[in-house]
Symmetry: C2
Subunit: 211 residues, 2 copies
Amino acid sequence: MIAINTLGYAILSVIGRKPCTGYELVNYLDPIWPAKHSQIYPLLTKLEDKGLLVHEFVEQMGRPNKKIFSITEKGKEALENWMVKTPSDPVNRDEFLIKVYSSWVADEEKSIKLIHDRMAKLEESVTRLSGKIKKIEETQELETNSKNFGRYLLFHRKFRLAQEEKAWCQWVLNLLKNKKINIPLLSMTFAGKLLQYGIGTEGRFLCFILG
Amino acid sequence: MIAINTLGYAILSVIGRKPCTGYELVNYLDPIWPAKHSQIYPLLTKLEDKGLLVHEFVEQMGRPNKKIFSITEKGKEALENWMVKTPSDPVNRDEFLIKVYSSWVADEEKSIKLIHDRMAKLEESVTRLSGKIKKIEETQELETNSKNFGRYLLFHRKFRLAQEEKAWCQWVLNLLKNKKINIPLLSMTFAGKLLQYGIGTEGRFLCFILG
DNA sequence: CCCGACATGTAAGGAGTTACATGATTTG
DNA sequence: CAAATCATGTAACTCCTTACATGTCGGG
């Protein structure tokens, strides 16, 4: 009995929520454990061999045939057993961080562009996420034990973290442009706008409206 | 001329900031691109072969001899050229996310524990980071072009994101315990405390003091 | 007419982890 | 007396990405 890996559990979790094809898994896995199809297909076979999944073959016309995978009782048990173990530490790999760290090699203008571009991307993802959240809130049942609940929580999490990183970006831009809050007192988000209050370098009380 | 990978640039960046040994790199790389020594040592050799690094051999008594690596002009140029290219998208792999997503398999009690444990870890890292930030602010030169600046920015970023995730955890716990803010209006951090304001399920205005 | 969506797979290679190997010194 | 710190390296493995392979349909 060889142990299954994290991606395997991610697959069990997604399929357990709702049966789907390997093709669909690529998208569904994205918010929790991104993977390419070349990694997914062989693993599906392996999970089925272990009796954690089963598939139904669906012949289609005009488009390729497909396999719809569902979780088995055994699969559910495996997931449940894994679920209660302490998760291993997260690994975040982000080239952006290295580039921020490397700001000493480039001139200020380039650092500003780096942060600016990041902010633009975050802005995009904030918009996309708030749309998704609204959609879930409007159309789906959201009891704490529903199958949509976990998904909903994760979108919220991503949204909040993106907002917060945006605020950080703005803080960095202010530092780089020397409009500096020296003693930060209060940072808050109100109606989608980010606000920062504090005492500036020159001693005056400052407020930045961000985002 | 074979391209060097992201870890390679991370190494150049760290060594460029301050010459160091492979052993020290393991710790210094951690905030930007974590790697094990088994990956670092061979890459250092490769980077030196390419003329991007040089090392000075230091014989020691009572402890193993060491190699202190420094960046070369060529290395600095390589880093600078890479620095201005758009960074690739971040990859976050976090088992915790799969477990949150899987909350439908376990009972509520287990979900609460999952979030609780995460919060405790975040609390720890918030404390650790605020200590580090204070230390940098007290002892180091922090001009925007100094070599400490990027490092300082990243600690701030991590601190803010940890704080925000903590607040999210608290929001989830409130949902799970049915003390629910239905319409979130305002979330802010003040003097290290996290505050959430909004309209509760029962229509009353609520304020949660978190952290 | 090209591109993206749908749909499944394999092969090769690069990136990252775990384990093997060695050994003195300090700290609890 | 055990564990952590310092210090460097290799070998074997798993994980992940990129590329190869195939084919239909619909939209711009």
